[in-house]
Structure formats: structure tokens, C-alpha cells
């Protein structure tokens, strides 16, 4: 798959600390790419370098195959985590102002704003001052301003903070719709459940290093640690005897329910078939499934150095 944006060995040092140390990543075109990491890991610095707000000390950033240039800012939409609007300005005027800064003509901007304002049902806000809007309302305007110029690369830093679940969902759908139309999305967040829902790829940055990169599915499987859950009907003792030696039995549970369950840890992939066969022999097997760790677990384990 073609990469829209690649960072190669990017290093950025400040007076007191190193914000990014030899970080490389490749963001495939048309993907939703999660940029994860604890506070202070260097995510914001990386995003600022991509936005050309600051320059790296060494390394380079390629946009669509060429070294990122000032004009590329017109092809990027950035919604920072800390964001705001001019309080005294009217909503419509302000949206126009930001659109023009992104290179849209007044006429284009007006036409596109009309579409978005209708989509979000907020036409009546056009002549309101921003200070009259609630936080969530202002966030909607901010989102529109970010995506209005139809950039090829969208960068969202904690986009859902300040949204109620309904509007967060609306926003999520809009982000996915933009991806489906061909935009590439960088998505920086701490909220791991949203990562599982919408990210295709992730990079985990910790202490200025890229410590984990790849497809979300691959990563979760790779760190699945061969944990399986068996649901069955029959004699627990027989089951335990059957798998003994082939794998480690972690816990049994749920006496009251129709099916009993047992968690197993299989030492290697090669053993999995043999274990299934043994289980099948011993009890009435209902299901045998891999327990895939949540991104949350992987995040915590990776940051604590347990991967």
C-alpha cells in the first residue's frame, strides 16, 4: 500500500530533554492511523513537526513522496487537543476566516460551509458569537473548520474530548466517512476503545521512542500470548486430565451457567491443534476461542516494558 506520509529517523531535542529520538513511521494512504502514547511521550511534538510548526533537528518527513513543503499545509487539516476560537467573532465569519487561511476562496468556502452547516443542522448559529455557544457546539464548528478544505491528511488530537456520546459517535462516523472518501487520518488519543473501533494502524510512542507499530489486528494477535477460552459441557476433571502436559490451565469458572469455561495458555502455536483435539475427545466442546488482548492491555504492558 502506498504511504501518504513517512517520518524517517526524526529527532527533536529541546534544551532540557529529547522529545523525539529517532522516530520512524509510515502512514498508509486511506488509513486511520492511531498515534498513541502516554502524556509527554512526544506525540504532540511529532504532530507539530508534521504540521511544520516546528522543524526536526535531524531526520525528515515525506508527504506524498516529497519532502514536506510549506504548500502541503493546505493539504493538511489539524485539530489540536488544546483548541479554541475567537470568542467575540461570529461563527460564520470565523469559519470563513479559517477556511481562507487554508487557501480556499471566499466563494468556495461559503458553498462548502453551507453543506456542512446543513449536515450538522447548525445553520442558525451562523450569526451567533462563539462565546454564546456551549463547548460541544464550538467543537462542532472547530471540526468543520478542520475538514472544510478537504485535506488529504487529517490530524485529530483527542477529537472526542468535550463531546457527549451521541455527538462523539456522529463525529466518529464523519471521520470514517472522510476516510472512505480517500482522506488519511492521524488520530492521537489515550482512549483505547476508540482506537480499536476506528484505527487500522497504530504507532505507540513512549519516552520519545517508537516502541510499537503496525496493523491493529496484527498487533493484538501478536500480543495475544496464546490464551484460549474453552466453553464446554462435561466433566472438568476429564478435561483437565486430557490437556495435562500440553498446556497450562489458568482458571475454571461458571459452575452455575449451562456451559463451563476454562482458560488455557498454550505454549506454542503448533500445540493448538493438538489441544483442541484433546479437548474435543474429553468433553462436549461448545467453543474454543483465542482471547485477544484489548489495546488497553497492550498499551499498558508496552509502556511498562512488559512486551
Amino acid at each position: 500500500m502506498k504511504e501518504l506520509l513517512t517520518a524517517e529517523h526524526v529527532t527533536k531535542r529541546y534544551a532540557a530533554h529529547t522529545a523525539l529520538d529517532d522516530v520512524s513511521l509510515a502512514i498508509p494512504e486511506g488509513s486511520v492511523y492511531g498515534l498513541l502514547g502516554p502524556n509527554g511521550a512526544g506525540k504532540t511534538t511529532l504532530i507539530r513537526i508534521i504540521n511544520r510548526i516546528t522543524a526536526p533537528d535531524s531526520g525528515r518527513v515525506l508527504f506524498d513522496g516529497h519532502e514536506i513543503a510549506p504548500e502541503d499545509v493546505y493539504r493538511i487539516g489539524y485539530l489540536p487537543e488544546e483548541r479554541g476560537l475567537y470568542k467575540k467573532m461570529k461563527v460564520g465569519e470565523q469559519a470563513l476566516f479559517f477556511a481562507r487561511l487554508k487557501g480556499l476562496s471566499r466563494r468556495d468556502a461559503l458553498a462548502r460551509l453551507k453543506v456542512w452547516f446543513e449536515k450538522f443542522g447548525i445553520q442558525s448559529w451562523w450569526d451567533k458569537k462563539v462565546e454564546e455557544l456551549s463547548k460541544g457546539m464550538a467543537q462542532k464548528v472547530q471540526f468543520i473548520v478542520t475538514v472544510l478544505h478537504e485535506p488529504r491528511l487529517l490530524i485529530f488530537d483527542e477529537p472526542f474530548s468535550g463531546f457527549d456520546p451521541i455527538n462523539a459517535n456522529l463525529l466518529k462516523e464523519e471521520i470514517l466517512a472522510l476516510r472512505d472518501k480517500g482522506a488519511t487520518v492521524i488520530f492521537s488519543t489515550h482512549n483505547m476503545s476508540s482506537v480499536e473501533e476506528i484505527c487500522d494502524h497504530i504507532t505507540l510512542i513512549n519516552k520519545s521512542h517508537n516502541i510499537l507499530s503496525g496493523r491493529v489486528d496484527d498487533i493484538r494477535r501478536r500480543h495475544g500470548a496464546n490464551l484460549f477460552e474453552v466453553a464446554y459441557r462435561g466433566d472438568e476433571e476429564a478435561l483437565r486430565r486430557a490437556v495435562e502436559g500440553r498446556c497450562e490451565i489458568l482458571e475454571g469458572a461458571a459452575e452455575e451457567s449451562v456451559y463451563r469455561t476454562l482458560k488455557l495458555h498454550v505454549a506454542s502455536d503448533d500445540e493448538v491443534r493438538a489441544v483442541i483435539a484433546a479437548v474435543n475427545e474429553a468433553v462436549d466442546l461448545r467453543s474454543f476461542r483465542e482471547i485477544i488482548p484489548s489495546m488497553n492491555d497492550i498499551f499498558i504492558r508496552a509502556v511498562n516494558g512488559q512486551l
Binding site: 510548526i53 504548500e71 489540536p80 488544546e82 483548541r83 479554541g84 479559517f98 487561511l101
Partner: protein
Amino acid sequence: MSRSNIPIIIQREFNERVRKKSFIITTLLMPVLMIALMAAPALIMEYSRGERKTIAVIDESGLVAPQLESDEEIRFETTDLSTDEARKELTDRFGVLYIGSDILENPANVRLYANSSSSLSLESNITGQIEKILEAEKLKAYDIENLDRILSEVKTTVTLQTFRNDKSQEQDTQAQSSGVATALGYVLGFILYMFLLIYGSMVMQSVIEEKNNRVLEVMVSSVRPFDLMFGKILGVAAVAVVQILIWGVLIVAVGGFVLPHLMPAEAMAGVQAMQQGMPDAASMSGLDPDMLQAVAAMTDLGYILKIFGCLLLFVFGGYLLYSTMFAAVGSAVDNVQDASQLQMPITLPIILALLMMLAVIKDPNSSLAFWFSIIPFTSPVVMMARIPYDIPWWEILLSLAVLYASFIVMVWFAAKIYRVGIFMYGKKPTLKELFKWVRYKY
């Protein structure tokens, strides 16, 4: 960003401010207010005079009462009543004036019994009249012939016309008035001081506000911080220039076109004589020469245009220099309260400039005056105060050149601080740290 975003920023900053009601009101009201302020003393006099007051006079000397002249303020009437009776009975009058029989020898023997509070102008009216009458009486005692004629011949008013020897032929016919120049110098110096301070801190507050509500975070992804800072400075400058231009047009219109029609014809003849360097002819009009010179200056279009041209250039240059510093300080703090300490190095030179102006205006050609009108931090205020004195052009040009050059140095310096400052939240930096930021690389 290949195309500069500065014009879009300027437009926003300009529109935001010019559309405010407060801008429209101050711009239109300020000249009215200034005129009102100048006219206030006369108006107050006019209205405080109130209705005509009747005063009953008991003159035991018989010298004064016949010569007291009633005017629109006081009407005098003599009465034969005794003082006590008059005080009791004539309560419908404003008061009773008692003049002792020994008034010539004892001028303190005058008493006013007022039925309500009297005023300073009324009292000085009465004492002035009595003094004149008594002086005339005393002079009469010397028995000089043709006294009236002698007195009128002796009475003299001196009018000093100052001319410049170092001016070219045409110019030297133009009379110079130090009085008008001093007044104008004060006004111009103060205007500069006000503009630097008000518009400079406007830039600072605007930067702080942007940083505080995090618009900056959104902006920097589409605008270079330098463009953002510079666009804001120019946008606010445009507001200042428009304000001055509106005032300029108002004053030129009033001075050049309305005033000549309002003034009495003989006064305008005097003014023209003054403008053409014929003070003798001017003094014929019988008007106060200082007044004539002020009007001559006000209605001399060339003079007004020169003053306004310089005013614009110095306000713009001085504002640029100071606003870049204000922008740098604004970028470094999170709220206006924190800014006060860092503002010190900016406000001190402005205040120094004002103090220097007050010193310099007494002697606009001293070396102190020269140097403080060249040093960029004080030059806008001090030079502007000197310009009405018709100082050499090369000094004005040198001052402007130094001012604009130091702005270019300062904007480079300020942009570095701004660049770092806008991303710094939390702890309020010290001045020392601010200077360290200049060396940060980005």
C-alpha cells in the same frame, strides 16, 4: 503558505476592531470632546453668569455710586436707606453694597451684604469697577491737564513677531509663533504617547487572548507564527492610521474650509496678512495677535499637511517598534496580570519619552532635545513635540530612519521570543528567560 496569509490576518484584525461600537464612538467623539474641552472654560463662564443681579448701593462718600456702571451681570441702584434698613428691607435684591465715606483713604471699607452666596466673578466685577473709579479720582488730585488723552497715549500693548533667519526667502515671510508651536507640540507629543501606549497594549492583549483561548494552537497549523504576529501588528496599525486620518480630515475640513467662513471678514483679513508676513497689517485688525496666529496656523493647509504627514509616520513607526515588544511580552504570559512585570522595559521608555518631551518643549533646539528625538525609543514622542517649531528636515528624516531601522531589528528579536512564547504555558517567565528564548532554535 506559499501565498502569504498576512493580508487575511490583517483584514480580520482590522475588521474586528473597526466594527466595534467603541471605535466608532471614540473616533467621532474624540475631536468633539477636545473642542469641548477647549471651549469649556468659556462655556462655563457663560452659563455660570446666570441672571442679572440687582445690588443696592449705599455710598457714604458719594464718589463711587454715580460712576458704577451696570452691565449684563449686575445692575446697580442707589438707595437712601441706612445699611441696617436696607439689609432688612431689600431682600428681593441680590445684596446691599456699602461704601464708607473714607473710601479714598481706606479702600478696605467696602462691604457687600449678600442675600445668597456671591461669586468670584461678581466680586471681581465690583472691586474692579471701584478700583478704577478710585484710581481716576486719585489721579485727578494731581491736576494734570489733558489727563484722558495722556492716559490713552500711554496705554501700550506689545506684539512680538518672531522670524527665522535661517529660512529661505519665501518661508521667512511666515511669522513664527512660539506660543502656538508650544501648544501644538504638547498636543502632538501627547497624541504620540497615547497611541503608543493604547495601541501597543492592544496588540499585547490580543496576543494574550489568542494564547489564552488556544486559538493560537489552531492558527499555527495554517499560518507561520511570524505572519500571525506581523499581521496582527499591521492590522491594529491600520486601525490607528484610519483613526488619525479621520481626525485629520475632520481638522483639515474644519480648519481649511469651515473656519474661514465662520470667522468675521476683518479677522480673516488679519489672518491672511499674518500668513503673508505682514504683521503690521494684521495688527490693524485689532484682534489678539496670538489668536490670529493660532487661526493662521489652523487654516494654513501646507502646515497642517506637514504636521499630519509627520504624525502618521511617527505614530506608525513608533507603534511598530513598541507593538513588536508588546507582542513578545504578550506571547510569554498566560494572562494580563502576569504581563505587568514584563511590561516594565516597554512602558519605562514611553514614560521617559513623555518626561523628556516636557523638558524639551521649553528649549526645542537643545542638544538634549536633539538626541532624545533621534534615540528610537523616545524619538516618536519627543520629535513630534518639536516638529511644530519648524526644525530642519534632515533631523526629521534621520529620526525616522533610525526609528524604522530599529523596528526591523526589534521585530526579528520579538519574533524569536513570540515563536517560543506562544507554546509556553504555566510558569510566568522572567525577563532573563525571555532573552534566552531568542537563542532557541526552531
